[in-house]
């Protein structure tokens, strides 16, 4: 962390080697996160590039009161969500259909232990995971990814996405329920 602060300070003063070191520190995280939102390796590489462009351009505005990673997640999320707004909403499922219904539990309870391809190295499972998350509107997808997959707190997620904490919880609950149910259907 101290090392990161020093790198940021050097980078702000125009030290290219420090900037390159910061890029190296975060490129894999940013590429993975962009891929997880877009589910497309080429787009992920472009978003990674745009994110670091933005980082370099506005690093002087970074005051260090949050982690640099949180700041970068915000930039990636904004790039991805801007791209998603150009897509038709009919490309995604309506999560209004997810109801907090007791039947959600009863009808969909399936023993996943019997699934033969549970390793995430398995291409069949990867396809199921890609197909399911692509159906989620990016506004929901990004909440699920920041909170559950990247492990940010509800408050950090809310701050990055400029949402209220209850809105994050609501989107997270619906995203989790949708993904779980959609994967469950694919396993049948």
């Amino acid at each position: 962390m101290q090392e990161e602060k020093l790198l940021i300070s050097l980078a702000k003063s125009g030290d290219k080697a420090a900037l390159a070191e910061l890029v190296k520190l975060y490129e894999s995280t940013i590429y993975n996160f962009a891929f997880k939102i877009c589910r497309d390796k080429e787009k992920a590489e472009n978003i990674m590039q745009e994110t670091f462009y933005s980082m370099i351009k506005s690093l002087n505005q970074f005051e260090g009161d949050s982690k640099l990673s949180t700041w970068l997640y915000r930039i990636v999320s904004n790039h991805c969500l801007m791209g998603a707004r150009k897509l038709k909403s009919s490309n995604f499922v309506s999560l209004d259909e997810i109801e907090d219904d007791e039947n959600n539990v009863k009808e969909l309870a399936v023993d996943w232990d019997s699934i033969p391809f549970k390793s995430t190295e398995n291409d069949e499972l990867k396809k199921i995971l890609d197909d399911s998350i692509k159906k989620l509107h990016p506004d929901y997808r990004v909440v699920f990814l920041l909170r559950d997959v990247e492990g940010l707190s509800t408050e950090e997620t809310a701050s990055i996405l400029e949402l209220t904490v209850p809105a994050v919880k609501s989107r997270l609950h619906r995203a989790r329920a949708f993904l779980r149910n959609d994967i469950n259907e694919a396993f049948k």
């Binding site: 490129e27 590429y31 990674m48 907090d100 539990v105 969909l108 399936v110 995430t120 499972l125 998350i133």
Partner: protein, 78 residues
């Protein structure tokens, strides 16, 4: 919410809080107790956790030439 009033619907409603947030609240303790007694909810809860775990473990490698391409495009290559 009283412990004996917990229903499957409450578990679905509050699964957000019960996964990683405020695990010691009275509500979460009641939910965990219900999960121990209700096979359907336990199965639901477990599969939501497995869903999250699948996505956590699904990572991609940065392409071999991506680092050099990136530094070049940013004007940071030496």
């Amino acid at each position: 919410m009283k412990e004996n009033e917990i229903k499957c619907k409450d578990v679905v409603n509050h699964i957000c809080e019960s996964l990683g947030e405020d695990l010691n609240s009275a509500q979460c303790i009641a939910i965990k107790k219900h999960l121990g007694e209700c096979k359907n909810c336990a199965s639901y809860f477990k599969t939501v956790e497995m869903t999250i775990d699948f996505y956590k473990k699904y990572n991609v490698e940065l392409p071999e030439d991506a680092h050099d391409k990136l530094l070049k495009s940013l004007g940071l290559n030496t």
